[in-house]
Symmetry: C2
Subunit: 398 residues, 2 copies
Amino acid sequence: MTTPRRSSPSQEEIRRQNLGALLRHVHMRGAASRAELTADLGLNRSTIGALTAELIAAGLVSEEVPKDTTRSRAGRPSLVVSPESERWYVYALSVEVDRVRAARVGLGGAILDRREAPREREHEAAEAAAPLAELVHDMHRHVPAESVYIGCGVAVCGMVRRADGAVRLAPHVGWEDQPFAEAMKAELRYDAPVSLGNVADLSALAEHTRGSAAGLDNVIYLYGDVGIGAGIIAGGRRVTGHGGYGGEVGHMVVHPRGHKCGCGSQGCWETEIGEGAIMRAAGREHLSGRDAVLAVVDAARRGDASAQTATRQVGDWLGFGVANLVNIFNPEMVLFGGTLRDIYLVAAAAVRSRLNGLALPVCREHLQLRTPSLGEDAALIGAAELAFEGLLANPLAA
Amino acid sequence: MTTPRRSSPSQEEIRRQNLGALLRHVHMRGAASRAELTADLGLNRSTIGALTAELIAAGLVSEEVPKDTTRSRAGRPSLVVSPESERWYVYALSVEVDRVRAARVGLGGAILDRREAPREREHEAAEAAAPLAELVHDMHRHVPAESVYIGCGVAVCGMVRRADGAVRLAPHVGWEDQPFAEAMKAELRYDAPVSLGNVADLSALAEHTRGSAAGLDNVIYLYGDVGIGAGIIAGGRRVTGHGGYGGEVGHMVVHPRGHKCGCGSQGCWETEIGEGAIMRAAGREHLSGRDAVLAVVDAARRGDASAQTATRQVGDWLGFGVANLVNIFNPEMVLFGGTLRDIYLVAAAAVRSRLNGLALPVCREHLQLRTPSLGEDAALIGAAELAFEGLLANPLAA
């Protein structure tokens, strides 16, 4: 039940909304015929024609006669509208514990170029911005003339204040209250907005719009790195919470007498399924980092008994926490991203069996467990969506 | 990010939406002047006048000159539009473990009449429908002539399939896959819809629209009875999950080596804060029922040391689970309803101190803990909203 909504937008607002809806449609779903747009957007043919003409004039879409068409009885085939993918682009960045990644993403969501570099765990926000900007500047030298830069989106494995892009807390990256969007904007030196989001939230967004969870309304995307986070979609919309800090499932306490957590608490879920837990379970406490986790998974896959015990144990705790989330959210799909993807792939049986033991049958009856179809690109594509938001809300303001 | 929405509703749809918005406004917020409606609904004065006239003709609202008005410079005071509260009504029912309640609720949300009766724990759905219908029929004999019955809403402490009002699972009521809406409709013998919802969901709805949480977008309503459930509002909308079974926080496992739960699992939150846990902690395992819980709370309030230890212990576990939910949802408010209201009132310090120890500071920084301002009426008022939904969606179809 919501409060009564304002019911009479101006003509200008309606036009802007419709332009945004059309551009968003081709951005999200790719080229579409005018007939499809008419049906999908619920607008009449002449309105679609007028909107398309405006977007063509702005250089945002192009239109062509479809190549291979069986002529319909009516005669003329419906023109096909495509986003100008190469012309409009954003930069999408991902700050992870051990590496930073950058991509140039075109309207329509295609990754046009990409770079990656290792990250020093002790780097503060200001120090991290410079090498990231370096990756961007390197790509920028190869951008075709006539291309238009829209903005930059950044995925961070931490808690982000959306209003100003400050990182409130990112324990595994080692940041607290750091104005990273500002630092990044200063290093980039381009006159366009820089927006920040949480990596799990943005990955969930990407999978929900273009990946495994497309078309589903109740989805949980779990992201594992050193810690654990979730991007949650409920009723088709992201659960962000009051300040935007929701989804901190890694700090759901699952084991009251469990291990000390970096957050100061004890027995948090990430102390049982995070990087440290995997290394501990495998008897490799002296190692850390993404590659060390993947080495354990790899050893388990090759039949190493102690690695198999470790992945089974972590898989068991993974299923434990997923069961809690399933009872709370009754989702259609849970996605395992980051290093949890690899853990899930070798320990799926342990995850499912613990889950089935703890989740109410009614809450899990239509549940699918999956790995993200966008893989590691989900974070980048989600960050790109953040950067495209302004353009899609008001296409002709660009 | 949602799919493009259909952007051109017909004139008829717009009129229906506007009629619904106006009626919902006075239903939710009470009498309002035409000037207030014009401002709040974003419609112009003549549209508000025309819509009001239609609703008056249908007998849904009335209009009058305000009694005590300081004349504005413009001269005529703005007419005040009120819902016809006595004329349009629904029945709201609540099926609890040890009792059933029924109320007649008028348009605008006022409880016009009410009845209550004890419930036998072993009664099946069909057996429970008859005594509930008896309460309704008794109220019905006192309904003024000219009054119009809209429908019936029922709150059940169990998992409800919204589509057909079947109770999928209500372990503490002892029901599984029972077509309760159908049974209730047959017993009532009135030709109007009967809708079912979960008690925590409906209480959350009521508190969110008319109670402590009015105006807040991120709210968790915890309902305690024999078991524990939650109604969750995220981003202004109820989190229902794929099948409508979300919010089963009572079966979030918080204690891997804890007590056996009725659901077949072990260490569920409700084994630490439900009725059984309270009785166990107080050394009164031989007692059960709502009154037994309230007796423990009362003893604690009067200084009984073992009752105080018990409520502190339960309060500690209450804070434990709330911390998990706060990390997941970053809510603005958590409400304690049902018997949790009473537990919270004597154990607030234990709840808050455990919560502060486990919830991330960023996730709890704007959190308020509260008891429901509608008290036990929340379930009935929420059930009434369910019954009013059809009328508010399309006022003139009634």
